[in-house]
């Protein structure tokens, strides 16, 4: 079994995903696939791509859920990728050391040379974030675009994961969640960012921002608009008094 870093550094790179603005457009998922299929874990193989059962490797997938019954409920779009946990079961379960967590930034990677494709890690991961490439016989996963975020061939503002660059609703944020003063940590604090299934104890680094409270159907007592009051109708041929106002063109 594989051990975790003995002296993990303070840096914990990760993503914060805003469920308030995610519209489920799959931009992140496809952008991720596009970048990574030519990146350090290339390719993200697709089997039967034009046939009866097309299945490919995706490091990021978007799900839609409905909460509540009938028209009063809500729809939540939920992008899912590796959370780069502090206590990643996928690493500790790995029999060969292929799965590992980096000391320097906390990113969880797979060393393909060591991976024997046993899939124990995908069984261990409660978040379903592992992607087995049947064609290559190895496990693959989100690298947090490790070939972008440090890449000096890219202009500095673009050194973020592909999904973050692409997201049209700015629902994805990247940064150091180990630094409480980083913009991304402050965002988590402000918006009440959550861990997924914290009770399992894997201490995910990625956070999810819950939907903001909606401003639907509020009454005046809760800050909603006052009801409209009809203008009293006047007589004398003018049916609405306010029409009498003299206004200049």
């Amino acid at each position: 079994m594989t051990s975790l870093p003995r002296d993990p550094g303070p840096k914990k790179l990760g993503l914060v995903i805003d469920l308030d603005t995610c519209v489920g457009c799959h931009a992140c998922a496809v952008s991720c696939k596009e970048w990574n299929t030519g990146g350090v874990a290339a390719p993200l193989t697709d089997l039967d791509p034009y046939g009866a059962d097309p299945v490919g490797v995706w490091f990021n997938r978007v799900h839609a859920y409905e909460a509540g019954d009938g028209m009063g409920g809500r729809t939540v779009h939920f992008p899912r990728s590796c959370l780069h946990c502090d206590e990643p079961a996928c690493v500790s379960v790995c029999p060969t050391g292929a799965s590992y967590k980096r000391e320097e930034d906390g990113i969880v990677l797979v060393d393909e040379d060591l991976c024997i494709g046993c899939k124990l890690c995908s069984w261990a991961c409660p978040y379903g974030a592992r992607e087995y490439d049947r064609d290559a016989g190895v496990m693959k996963k989100c690298t947090l675009c490790i070939d972008r975020i440090y890449n000096e061939n890219l202009p500095e503002p673009e050194r973020v994961p592909a999904c973050v660059t692409a997201c049209p609703t700015s629902a994805r944020h990247f940064g150091d969640l180990g630094d409480p003063d980083s913009p991304i940590s402050r965002l988590v604090a402000e918006r009440g960012g959550r861990d997924l299934m914290p009770e399992l104890g894997y201490r995910p680094v990625n956070k999810y921002l819950p939907p903001r409270p909606t401003r639907g159907g509020t009454d005046p007592a809760e800050g909603g608009a006052d009801p409209l009051r009809p203008e009293p109708e006047s007589d004398g041929g003018r049916f609405l008094r306010w029409l009498d106002a003299t206004l200049s063109r």
Binding site: E34, P49, D69, M71, R74, D147, L228, F239, L243
Partner: protein, 961 residues
């Protein structure tokens, strides 16, 4: 893990590309800027261009999947000539010379005899400035793109009302609005700008209300989702109007300054001008000036026009301000929230509350920008003040037969609130606003179609009265699609959806050649699909095809290919020149005009040619006037790029507005610049011209903006553009229906014209729905577009089809339970017109009387290079089979198009159905059709796609841990 094992080294800074080329996306109609990273001559990666005005660096799922579109195995490879029966899909490859010669032979014969026998229609064409002009040079009125089955209700209602429209000609003020009302917007139009905008709006704490029968996509993140009954949005909006009028919560100052609310409407019942605008001797509209207490030109500044009352006109008739007519109508109890709640499915209390919220945002949260500006009359205003309620509407409004009036109702609401081109409201995108409507009329009157000669103008335009219609002496239609006839007088985008059926029937006449670019008329672009396939293959008594020739141009093996006699293979969007022109469908933002190009970032590896090059070549060989020089030689021997640079619509105005003039220093107008395209390429393939801050709002009445627009060639005069709350052109048609004027509708259409050409917005139950027994067919059925797909194109994309491999029929869980329908089970969807088998999916967030599915995922087996057992054909389905292209017969036997009576917009969403559980152990959708054979030259797709393996960085040597 063993402690001293070597750890892998990861190359964290691999080289990404040898070269980056900036061009424009074509994965949908949004037209975002993309950067294409090339490695060893191959496309490694596409990403959003951060500098681009449309997408500002972001890119949607479709855009990122562009590589898979570019590499699709469905790409056609060489011109094809049919060898089997039409519809069998058997072809032989031919050389381009032969293909073009064949097209020229067919088209030349038509042009010499009767040019209208060419029906040249394009689908998701982004080169309409070329294709429309080409059609008029050919001399046929029978041309349009796909707008007639997409969003002409939005375009026409907007153009006739405010001189702009949602989406391409306007956008919400995302930064400043406090309340956004979105109507019938599924997942796109326009895709990335809406997403960027919603994100900003939510960060600003503004409220977002989505009115849509289905809670997906944008509706899912709305503060309030109103799951309205389909086709009733107009009634909901007019109930808001009713509430606002009752409370006096309207912006009377805005109405007086910027709309025709004070214009006097002639009241002369039965008279020839009843309902028209009273005008002075110069043609200026009249109003009643409260200050001088006399009639005045309504165009004069510094008057105080009355909004109500009745005034004696110089000729003795009386005139009433348009606004009083409006108030009288919408204060009627039929528009009260309680009266409309049952029909719309929206509780009266909700309607009243939304009206109150709209009023509160508009009148209590006024937004001010400290920016002086000068109005049309030269008066300086110290600041720009607006009412921050914005609206956006699209397909869910458009695709009903009451869509024109519903869209006008939304614009009416905007005007009453004073939220047109003000801070926080709806904002025009230059070159809009234009006069409502613009003074551009469709050409193609009977005398204007002459063998061997061009038409005197464009085939599409904006009639302002019966005299502008394209009808024969007897009132019958000139055009094959009956656009601009009494069937659809304001059909500003044509009616492509009616072309195959009308051509097959010979109604109004038979044609010779149907020339289709990028439209799938034998599948998802047609109503009544199975019968349309029959029409395309049907023969007359002599054994010839009833539509003698069909030419299609497409880059991919769509369902349409099999129904064509000649197939002209196009390139992908990354292999050609293209133009997104201000003359066509611009990509401007409210803060400035913009246009764009595409340029070939890679060369085709197949024997294909850009369609626009081919069209110009055919035109030159036909000797079309604009396409040849005086000596008969081709005017644009360099093809489309040559045309883009050197074609001038009028002197100084061409396809592209940037870098004009011989030295490239002019904008908007100027001589052709031989290096114009190079300048575009250097600049990232787009040009934009930010408006000066003083021009950015009140564009319809802003002197500096209007003068600028004239200088740029966008409008003809700097006169104020007055918003048309009351539509006089509509009334002109209505008067004709009442027997007034020279051009009169045929007797059987008079009642219809009289009813639907109301100068103020009305609501009526959509036609096909009204003609259907609501008890027997209790459910509305409609489609929505998925965010990750654009029409039929997405399914050949290896990545996008994994997201939506097939479509289900979605139904509310409670309704399904009541019907005894289980999740994942198969049902028959039955309309009076047909039956489709589909698999259901239960959900919560849907109007309880509505079922729906994703559009255009269902495919015919064998098309798009998918395997015959692909889920798109095995489980996917089209609702199209259930929708007739014509409404049931009138008492006299006449059948109208299943369309809006004003614009001819295809009424896809008027469908009513019932569901019947399938009890025969079904495992596939129906109807099914024989698989189409793969066209020659297309290899069987591989079973494993390892795209990108060759780009993988070499792994560094391992290091000691």
């Amino acid at each position: 893990m063993p402690a001293n094992r070597e750890r892998e080294r990861v190359d964290t800074a691999p080289k990404i590309s040898d070269e980056v080329k900036e061009t424009t996306c074509y994965m949908c109609a949004c037209r975002c800027g993309v950067r294409v990273h090339l490695r060893n001559g191959h496309i490694r990666y596409l990403e959003g261009n951060p500098r681009h005005p449309v997408n500002r660096g972001v890119l949607c799922a479709k855009g990122s999947a562009g590589i898979m579109q570019h590499n699709s195995p469905a790409r056609l490879r060489k011109p094809l000539r049919r060898v089997g029966a039409r519809g069998e899909g058997r072809f032989e490859e031919i050389e381009w010379e032969e293909a073009i010669a064949l097209a020229v032979e067919w088209l030349g014969a038509i042009r010499r005899s009767d040019p209208k026998k060419l029906a040249f229609f394009t689908g998701r064409d982004q080169s309409q400035a070329l294709t429309g002009w080409w059609a008029s040079q050919f001399g046929t009125p029978n041309h349009a793109a796909h707008g007639g089955f997409c969003s002409v209700n939005m375009a026409a209602a907007g153009i006739y009302t405010i001189g702009g429209s949602f989406w391409e000609f306007g956008e919400p003020d995302w930064e400043r609005t406090r309340l956004l009302l979105m109507f019938g917007v599924a997942e796109d139009h326009d895709s990335n700008p809406i997403k960027i905008g919603l994100s900003k709006l939510k960060a600003n704490g503004a409220k977002f209300v989505s009115v849509n029968p289905v809670r997906t996509g944008y509706s899912a993140i709305a503060d309030e989702w109103i799951g309205i009954r389909p086709g009733t949005d107009g009634l909901f909006v007019l109930a808001l109007v009713h509430e606002l009028l009752r409370a006096g919560s309207v912006d009377a100052e805005f109405l007086i300054r910027y709309t025709n609310a004070p214009w006097l409407v002639i009241r002369d019942e039965g008279g020839p001008e009843d309902g028209l605008i009273a005008r002075d001797g110069d043609g200026a509209p009249l109003c009643w000036d409260l200050r001088s207490e006399e009639l005045s030109s309504a165009l004069a500044p510094d008057i105080s026009p009355a909004l109500s009352g009745s005034y004696r006109l110089p000729d003795g008739r009386s005139g009433t301000p348009a606004f009083e007519l409006l108030v009288r109508r919408y204060q009627q109890p039929e528009f009260a929230p309680d009266a409309v709640a049952g029909t719309t499915g929206v509780p009266a209390a909700t309607i009243r509350r939304i009206a109150a919220e709209v009023a509160a945002a508009a009148f209590q949260e006024t937004v001010t920008i400290e920016q002086p500006w000068t109005d049309w009359a030269g008066r300086r205003h110290e600041r720009m003040t607006g009412r921050p309620v914005a609206m956006h509407a699209m397909r869910g409004i458009s695709a009903h037969s009451n869509g024109f009036h519903t869209c006008r109702a939304i614009h009416l609401l905007q005007m009453l609130l004073g939220t047109v081109d003000v801070p926080g409201g709806f904002r025009y995108k230059p070159p809009f606003p234009k006069p409502a409507p613009p003074p551009l009329k469709p050409a193609g009157k009977p005398g204007e179609i002459v063998p061997g000669a061009p038409m005197p103008g464009p085939p599409l335009g904006f009639p302002s009265g019966p005299a502008d219609l394209l009808v024969n002496e007897d009132g019958s239609p000139v055009r094959i699609d009956k656009a601009f006839s009494w069937e659809a007088p304001l059909a500003a985008h044509g009616m492509l959806h009616m072309v195959p059926a009308n051509a097959w029937r010979g109604d109004p006449y038979p044609i010779d050649t149907l020339f289709i670019y990028m439209a799938n008329m034998s599948w998802n672009s047609a109503m009544n699909t199975a019968e349309t396939m029959h029409m395309l293959t049907d023969r007359d008594d002599a054994g010839g095809y009833r539509i003698p020739h069909i030419i299609c141009a497409d880059a991919y093996a769509s369902e349409m290919v099999a129904y064509s006699d000649l197939v002209l293979p196009d390139t992908t969007y990354l292999e050609r020149w293209d133009c997104i022109s201000l003359l066509d469908r611009p990509i401007s933002s409210a803060d400035g005009a913009a246009d764009a190009i595409r340029h070939p970032v890679v060369q085709p590896d197949r024997d294909v040619r850009p369609f626009q090059d081919v069209l110009i070549d055919i035109g030159a060989r036909l000797g079309l006037p604009g396409l040849v020089r005086d000596d008969g030689s081709p005017r644009y021997p360099g093809g489309y790029p040559d045309y883009l640079v050197n074609h001038q619509r009028v002197p100084g105005i061409g396809s592209l507005a940037g870098w004009r003039g011989v030295d490239g220093t002019m904008e908007g107008t100027g001589d052709p610049n031989p290096e114009q395209l190079e300048r575009y390429v250097e600049a990232g393939s787009f040009w934009q011209q930010p408006l000066a801050p003083e021009m950015r709002f009140f564009k319809h009445a802003n002197r500096d903006y209007l003068k600028h627009a004239v200088a740029m060639g966008w409008i003809g005069s700097p006169d104020q553009i007055i918003l048309q709350l009351y539509s006089e052109p509509m009334q002109r048609f209505r008067l004709a229906a009442r027997g007034h004027g020279q051009v009169l509708p045929p007797a059987e259409l008079r009642e219809r014209i009289d009813r639907y050409f109301d100068p103020l917005p009305i609501w009526y139950q959509p036609f096909h729905e009204a003609a259907t027994d609501g008890d027997a067919y209790p459910l509305h059925a409609l489609t929505q577009r998925p965010m990750a797909m654009y029409h039929s194109w997405g399914s050949m994309n290896a990545w996008l089809r994994q997201i939506h491999p097939s479509n289900r029929l979605y139904i509310g869980r409670r309704r399904a339970e009541a019907l005894g329908i289980e999740d994942d089970s198969w049902v028959d969807i039955v309309s009076p017109h047909g039956r489709v088998r589909a698999r259901v999916k239960l959900m919560e967030g849907v109007n309880e009387d509505t079922v729906w599915t994703w559009n255009a995922i269902g495919k015919r087996a064998g098309a798009w290079a998918l395997s015959d057992d692909a889920p798109e054909s095995r489980e996917g389905f089209l609702l199209n089979h259930l929708i007739p292209e014509r409404l049931p017969p009138q008492p006299d036997g006449h059948r109208h198009a299943n369309a809006d009576p004003v614009t001819g917009q295809a009424a896809w969403y008027d469908l009513r159905v019932r569901l019947k559980p399938a009890t025969d152990g079904a495992t596939a959708s129906a109807p099914r059709f024989d698989p189409l054979p793969r066209p020659p030259g297309l290899a069987a797709p591989s079973s494993v796609l390892r795209f990108g393996a060759g780009f993988r960085p070499r792994r560094p040597e391992r290091a000691a841990r």
